[in-house]
Symmetry: C2
């Protein structure tokens, strides 16, 4: 079938809010979140920009919808774990849920910024938290402690921690010449970088591994919560 024939004979998948939002995620994956404009999104769907307004009220709803799409993927994966988790303690179940959610964010590196820009709560995010609260509740937490725990975890509960500055630069070791130049102004910082950057020079992961750091922070919080729970 030639392209020309296809254009005439194959019926278009009918447009829908769902298809608009899925397309927005694909566009962000392919070209970055700044490429997600109403005009470019419409172009990708083969319609005019104004036609989008039949499926979403405005661009904010597109971004809200992106959050829902991503978190729905997360929920699909973590809820498959819950059946297996019944026999496991709360800490292992919570840890596994969070690290599974994190895998989805690793597939959409632009997504944390979108999540942090939202102010309306998403139905899928509520569903994710509902499941996490269930795990803590079954583990013997009071609702009061669960509430504190969710605030303490923040975005870590969902599987990401937005790094301040240079998340990409963490991959490569800092330039020794640059460190020399900075040593006068930031003596302690440079002291740290000089030592930490050389701990494992042969590592292919680079001197600073995102996954390790995420798990370190997560375990610190989970351990602390377990201590409080046990004392209560």
């Amino acid at each position: 079938v030639s392209v020309g024939a296809e254009q005439k004979t194959v019926p278009r998948v009918p447009l829908s809010r769902e298809r608009v939002l899925l397309s927005a995620v694909e566009l962000a994956d392919a070209s970055g979140i700044e490429a997600v404009t109403m005009r470019r999104l419409a172009e990708r769907l083969g319609i005019e920009a104004m036609s989008l307004y039949h499926y979403v009220a405005n661009k904010e709803q597109v971004l809200d919808g992106i959050v829902d799409v991503i978190t729905e993927t997360i929920n699909d994966r973590v809820e498959r774990l819950d059946g297996v988790s019944a026999s496991v303690d709360w800490r292992a179940a919570a840890r596994r849920r969070i690290l599974t959610a994190r895998e989805v964010f690793l597939e959409h590196p632009w997504a944390p910024r979108v999540f942090e820009s939202r102010t309306d709560s998403s139905a899928q995010v509520l569903r994710y938290h509902d499941g996490l609260i269930g795990i803590l509740r079954d583990g013997g937490f009071s609702y009061d402690l669960i509430h504190h725990a969710l605030h303490a975890l923040g975005s870590r509960a969902l599987g990401f921690s937005q790094e301040l500055f240079d998340p990409a630069a963490d991959g490569g070791a800092p330039d020794p010449a640059m460190l020399d130049a900075m040593a006068g102004t930031y003596p302690k910082l440079v002291g740290m970088l000089r030592e930490v950057a050389h701990v494992d020079p042969g590592s292919t992961l680079g001197w600073c591994d995102d996954q390790t750091e995420f798990e370190f922070g997560l375990d610190l919080l989970l351990d602390g919560l377990e201590n409080i729970r046990r004392r209560a």
Copy 2:
């Protein structure tokens, strides 16, 4: 002196990069961060938009500069504490530094979003971290543990934790009728909200106090770090 006379006789404070950035912070304080456009910022300074490009290369530099201005304020305040901190243990010194920094963010509620949107590192933020690293180092931390600690603290080291969704709605208790409607879909979440929202019904702070939650998360992390430090 009449306004008309003033316009002719009083020499304008000469424009500078510094004055542009200070004005950007004032504009964000007054009208929100979305009001900080090149055109509106220029208007506020009594010049045309294009004149701004003599002081900054582009709008990204304005946002980078805003981060520097805010963090400079923080550094001014926390470095005044450091003299007094000499006799204090690392935990108290770090806690005081962070809670002092937090006060500045409470004065600029739009600032966390700007910080999290930056990708270049700021000289003032490096200076802030240098001081914090010094406190931990004096407290007996290895550079390796300090490195993990900074990642675990994330933006909490600087005094803020970006809440996901509804940070403003936390002030008022959730609507009981809405909770009833949500109970079927989110049973555990509603269970938590029903209990936690009624713990202190007479409190003027509302059922969920930002400061309390921030300190809870911060102490959880600091306690965990102290445990690791002591074991090492």
